[in-house]
Amino acid sequence: MRPPMAGWALAAFLAACQGKQPPSTRVTGTEAPALPVVPVPAAAPPVTGPAAVAVAAAGAGKPGAAEELRAEEREQNPRSEKVKIKLFVSPPGARSIVWWGRRKLGALGPMPLEFERPRNSGPVDLMVEAEGYLRFHTRIFTDRDDKLTVRLYRPDEATRLIGYRRSTAPEK
């Protein structure tokens, strides 16, 4: 693995001379081990706020406001070998496929996707695809049990998102 400082130096060289992608983006990974995917019926938790607004402003305070600290919710068994992951989608009617790299993890819809991972085995970067919605990239953590709702956006809702730029948006 090469840290970005090295990547930047090389990037400057490459950008100036060869026009190639800098290696700061060249991060390696490995094949995933077998992953049991167990969809179980459950009610979806409420979606966390409209994404167009930075959700959970805790910590992003104004000058002068010393941060208010809140301890993390304690785990029942912080030394467990595995952690439990639960993924929901909103709207629940969206027929979604969850990808982990090249691997299809399963379908997501009215039923959440539930699986286990070895504790501290690194984050799981997922992509959720659903017809009529923009692709959604998110990350699941394995240093604790994790539960997440993915709120999908239709192309016409993209204008509400931070960073939206009409001119460069590909047709969907």
């Binding site: 400082m5 790299g101 998102l161």
Partner: protein, 696 residues
Amino acid sequence: MSNDGPCRGVVALVGCAWVALACDRREPAPSPPPGTSPGEPSLPRKSASTKPPAPPKPDPDALPPAVDLPPERRAIQIVNGEERVVDADAARARGLTIVDLSDDWAPFIFQDAVAADGAILLNRYRAVFVGLATDRSDGDGQPLSPGDKNFLELYGIPPSLSVLRERFVTDAARTCEQGADIGKLLAVDGLDTWGATTEKKELAKGRQRGERIEQARDKAGLATLDELAAAEPRFAKDIKAHLRFVAERAAFTEVEKRLACEGLMDPAKHKPDVYDTPMRLAMLDFQQKNVLMEQGDIGRTTLEALARPILANDFAALRRGLAERAAHAGGFVEDGSASLAARAGKPPAYKNATGERVPVPDLVGAATEAVLARLGLVSPEDAVAFFARHPKQDFRWLKVAVRLPDLPEYYGPHMDLAGEIDRGDIWYDFPYNAKGERVPQPRRRYPSFTLYVKWRGERVPLLRWRTTIGGWRAELAADGEEYFRYKDSDVGPRVWRHIVAAPVWIPPLSSPLGSMVKTKLVNGANVRITNYDEVGPGYLSAYGLVAGIHVEMRKRGGDATYFDNGIRTHGSFDYMSLRGRFSHGCHRLFNNLAVRLYSFVLKHRKARTLGPMALNFRRTFWHEGEVFDMRLPTRGFYFELDPPLPVETLEGEIKGAVKQPIAGYVNKPGVTYTSHAPPAVGAGPESKAGGGGEAP
């Protein structure tokens, strides 16, 4: 290209023992291990000799060999040249310190803790730190690809001893170094390097010049170029340039040979005599591996490191690694940097019980030497022998029992510590004139961080390191345009109340979104993912591996309230910025030194471990037609100092005409703005750390 080594000139106030150790400036251990003659430090210990063995020197710290101990109670010692396993508990009872050499080691600030109610407070970054140090995983905690290495010492993560073992074992078997021509490597002060297109032109130009001169020499009927230069002075300049070119190309060939020999470059993928991508990557690896701050440039420091035997560089890495272990085991922070900084003045000293002035010792250096001596490590050959007798699995438990230097009198469970940041020379003036030309703003004094202990009515400096302060930076404003803004570092008394291990930085909305997405190989597919590098937690976080939060303490009656203006003294991956660049207002330190500093503070001040603090931040954003989610469940692992530790930022010396920082955005020269006037500036604490644009 810079030839300034990290230990030269004023920049030497970077003054870290870490860098100093890299310069190999230390003398051999004052008390070499028994059996080693001071005049023959590198002789193998078991060499055949006709002389009768010298009687063993008395070793008051030697413990009797112990057998059948569980791993947690085992430590080793070299006694009279022989290694033995001793009882770690007995060693502690004797006043010795157990220095952890195991692969599972992590600095104090990354240790798990137990809450008052007995619950475990997990320090989540610990597993990642250990994975990085042992070359088992990447910054995300995911397994490294076979053959990949983490060279992260410059980023605050020293390689574990099993990683160093692999280096020694592999490098000791190499024979390719015999073909190296050190004279050619050191015949130049540095090599000019260029991008691919320019390199082609420059090399062609150099060769054509050589042919031209040779033709002139032939034509003049002279034997040497020196004769030509004397006979026809108009060629003198070209001849000088040509000779340098020839020397540089010869050195370049030696660099290629060395990188290939060291296993960092595959010659089959490299085009000879060209500084191509495989060679540049190999050079970056070499520099990261040997803590050389030249970033692909081939300056004198790099050439000198290339000229050293590979095992000598490995030994320097081992020394640096043991320095971290020793400093943390002893709870030391004095590294000689305060003396180095005071070279022109009086070396720092403290008053002892009898009123004598005693110099502040270099405890990190002395502890390192003590560990090396107790392990019998004087030379690279000793290290090869050490690693030969310890297979990789030994580093699951290996520890050494050693007597570390005596603590100075000012040490105690709650030391009267205080931090001070001197901003050095300050320029508030806008750095461009009306024509849009850059205006020089020279600085003689650079910002420094000093940790003091108050002792017997005096402030005694324990360390002095280079740091950063804010300055003019480019920033994306709310109108989507980029402006310049002076990002000031607060002046005045503040306190550190909270120290955060593996802190998380929330990028302000002004952060460019392009850098928030990167490509990563995930399960065999190159996919775009949210880039958490700068956000953390991790060694690349804008707040580094650890941060102390500057807050203004206001007291009303008996109650104190705290105000945060976003300033932190934190570790930084951007080690080059510590050589004179500006931050967004925070005070950066090298990551390993920040880790050492805060571990020291927590060991020598009254503090509570708060553990992992929740953040539950989430930001969803659009990038090139897709939606990306940034999730930050945690702020980091918190400690609370009680009472807080005072830290004051001095104003420094204001240069130039402007005596107050310019508030608000200033248009960048040469940019046409669509807005009539710049918008109001953002003011979140996060704007004082990373993100945003580069300095003008």
